[in-house]
């Protein structure tokens, strides 16, 4: 209780000082699933300074509207607390009681990032129904689903928001009202079909996403409903159930906002296998077979699945490097062989420093890392030295390892892209590229030897998810901070008044995939760059300059006289501050606005070969 009180007091203090709750407070929020604590935390965070630039620099702002077929009640507080715990700065806009259908149909909420819908069975069931005619009940449910579908079509047509729905448990009081087993089974089937149809809505429309609340509740230690609250306050879900929903909504919102993690750093002894390698030798570690070896095997299998979906693996172990190499290469039950790891740091130094070094060699911030270790000492040292890193405990019964790793959704993305799948290999190539750069007289010789190829192509339905992901995730080389999402990017790419293009880079060491994108407003005389983002891992090779040069040449070819770009400073985009002047653009009287006449020459790095698709100017 003291901890709870301290946490809430610390959150209040941050709000009073108009600062963002620090990484330690956010980690404490992320760790808890206690509804009472989250409610109080959410209440304490009500006046979090969403308008403050400093706070918005530390936390990613998101707007979430909430629409409900029942009382929203504590859901607002629970959602706010879980979102802040994930490093987000939420503005939550609850809809009015009883206004679900009109608000959805007219997209009354405007253009928030997410509309979280809180649904209960009252939307789908008639006030009274005939227990002897399950078929008629099923027909009614089907009509209500059609109504919902029509409302959603209206909403997604008028708003850029993602509408987040959820599946619904069949309430026991409904199920148990039907006495015949055969009919009750039909009722359950009808209900599961409703949930399948709700899930199917996400497949039909990219602006709809669905939380499988039924499955999440099945795994949670909370009763879904308190009948007293339901009858008294039209609160169909218990605080515990709302916490489960809020956490799922947090996972989606975090993924959409691009604050998910990219890197999983793993300890070895008593984490990826049982036992201490230095004591038992390569053949003696516990792995495979029955419990507890099967727990470690299952963890390795799970980690391999994460890697297959783009999570970059780092091995960080206090061990003898040769012995580790031997065990990883030769132990028959090891699933994560040495080449599964994009970076490996095996030595006797402190893990905080080792993780920082690994992050540097990968060109990624430690804030994009999750670190799993069984030693409380190591975890404490890392947490202390690298605030912002997510630290998970592999201590205790190894049966829990996989759940510990997966349950928070650290690595969730709205949609997996080709670049995600190739990321681990790209980052391995990157560390080899860093080694290669040692042997050249000048950096230009080195760049020439890299044989860099830049491929520019207009956004297509295949590349839009990756482009939107870059907009959401890129903080450093992000010229204006405007984060065009999937829907906006699609709209712009379909419109003749705009141009959206992606940039892909490859060199002799590998294919980086799509690493940048540009959004341009086109008029007859001027092209204005709404934003240009570039992944940090390709900076320092002249790619950004080649992109500016390409833009100017395209504009010239279309008879456009001026290209205009902007730079809006944030706390993290210093690296891009001189981009426009370096590309040959001139500052204008408007602060942060740069122009270049297409009659003038732009700067062109001759070591980059540019490929382009002709449809760019369609």
């Amino acid at each position: 209780m003291t901890d709870t009180r301290e946490l809430v007091a610390a959150l209040k203090a941050a709000v009073d000082e108009h600062t963002a709750p620090g990484p330690d407070l956010r980690a404490a929020l992320a760790r808890t699933d206690d509804p009472a604590l989250l409610r109080r935390a959410g209440k304490a965070l009500t006046d979090l300074a969403t308008g403050s630039v400093d706070v918005a620099d530390e936390l990613r702002p998101v707007r979430v509207a909430v629409l409900a077929t029942c009382t929203i009640g504590p859901y607002e507080q629970l959602l706010r607390a879980t979102l802040v715990g994930a490093g987000l700065l939420p503005t939550i806009e609850p809809g009015r009681y009883g206004g679900f259908e009109p608000a959805l149909g007219t997209a009354e909420f405007g253009d928030p990032d997410v509309v979280s819908c809180l649904l209960d069975e009252s939307y789908f069931l008639p006030g009274d129904w005939d227990p002897t005619d399950v078929t008629a009940l099923g027909e009614h449910i089907g009509r209500r689903l059609d109504d919902l579908r029509a409302l959603l079509a209206g909403a997604t047509g008028a708003s850029s928001a993602t509408i987040l729905l959820h599946t619904l448990p069949l309430p026991a009081n409904v199920r148990d009202s039907v006495l015949g087993w055969r009919d009750r089974t039909r009722l359950a089937r009808t209900w599961h079909q409703l949930n399948a149809d709700i899930l199917g809505l996400a497949g039909d429309n990219p602006k709809i996403a669905v939380v499988d609340l039924v499955s999440a509740l099945g795994d949670a230690a909370f009763a879904a409903r308190d009948d007293r609250l339901h009858r008294y306050g039209d609160l169909p879900f218990s605080d515990g159930a709302l916490t489960v929903l809020a956490d799922e909504v947090r996972r989606f919102t975090q993924a959409k906002a691009g604050v998910s993690r990219k890197v999983l750093a793993l300890d070895l002894d008593n984490t990826l296998w049982g036992g201490v390698l230095g004591e038992v030798g390569a053949a003696g570690v516990t792995l495979g077979g029955l419990y507890p070896g099967n727990c470690y095997t299952e963890l390795q299998r799970t980690v391999a699945r994460l890697r297959a979906q783009g999570v970059v693996l780092v091995l960080v172990s206090k061990n003898d490097a040769e012995l580790v190499e031997e065990a990883l290469t030769e132990h028959p039950e090891v699933l994560l062989r040495p080449d599964a790891f994009s970076a490996t740091v095996v030595n006797w130094s402190a893990k905080g420093g080792n993780l920082a070094a690994a992050a540097e060699s990968l060109g990624l911030a430690t804030g994009s890392f999750v670190f799993l270790d069984d030693s409380a000492f190591e975890r404490g040292q890392v947490e202390d030295e690298l605030p912002g890193i997510a630290v998970l405990s592999a201590e205790g019964d190894p049966a829990h390892l996989v759940r510990t790793l997966l349950r928070h959704g650290w690595f969730d993305v709205p949609e997996l892209t080709g670049t995600d799948r190739e990321r681990p290999a790209m980052y391995r190539a990157r560390s080899r590229r860093t080694d290669f750069s040692g042997g050249f007289g000048s950096s230009e010789d080195y760049l020439r030897a890299l044989e860099i190829e830049l491929t520019i192509e207009p956004a297509t339905r295949f590349t839009v998810p990756r482009i939107a992901q870059l907009a959401a995730r890129t903080n450093q080389f992000n010229l204006t901070g405007v984060r065009y999402d999937e829907a906006a990017t699609t709209e712009m790419s379909d419109s003749p008044d705009h141009l959206v293009a992606s940039f892909a880079v490859r060199d002799r060491f590998g294919d980086e995939g799509i690493i940048g994108a540009v959004w341009v407003d086109r008029t007859r005389d001027t092209w204005r760059v709404g934003n240009l983002v570039l992944s940090c891992r390709v900076l320092g090779r002249g790619v950004e300059t080649a992109i500016a040069d390409w833009l100017v040449r395209q504009a010239r070819a279309e008879g456009v006289s001026t290209v205009e770009g902007r730079f809006t400073a944030s706390r993290r985009n210093d690296v891009a501050a001189d981009f426009w002047p370096q590309a040959g653009f001139h500052a204008t009287d408007d602060e942060g606005v740069y122009q270049l006449g297409t009659a003038d020459e732009s700067v062109r790095p001759d070591w980059i070969t540019v490929h382009e698709r002709s449809e760019v100017l369609a």
């Binding site: 509804p35 109080r40 009640g73 504590p74 007293r228 609250l229 008294y232 306050g233």
Partner: protein, 79 residues
């Protein structure tokens, strides 16, 4: 009765955001931020901490801190 009183006071203090001393001085719940929302939050927390279940009708008819303590104590004794 003495065993549940500190928990009831502490919980009310947290939910209503007023110091315990102030609740002792002014025990009428209506004098504080006592509405359906805060009362249900109090209900959930007390049930959780004390391991008991209220009849919502009895809970809603409690108008003072002392009413709540008496109600919780009676259930606690019964249990």
């Amino acid at each position: 009765m003495t065993t549940v009183a500190p928990t009831v006071l502490e919980t009310l203090s947290q939910v209503l955001n007023v110091p315990v001393a102030e609740l002792e001085e002014q025990p009428a719940l209506a004098a504080h931020d006592w509405d359906s929302f805060s009362s249900l939050e109090t209900l959930a927390q007390l049930e959780d901490k004390l391991g008991l279940r209220f009849d919502l009708r009895d809970f809603n008819s409690a108008h003072t801190v002392d009413d709540l303590v008496t109600l919780a104590a009676s259930l606690s004794d019964a249990g």
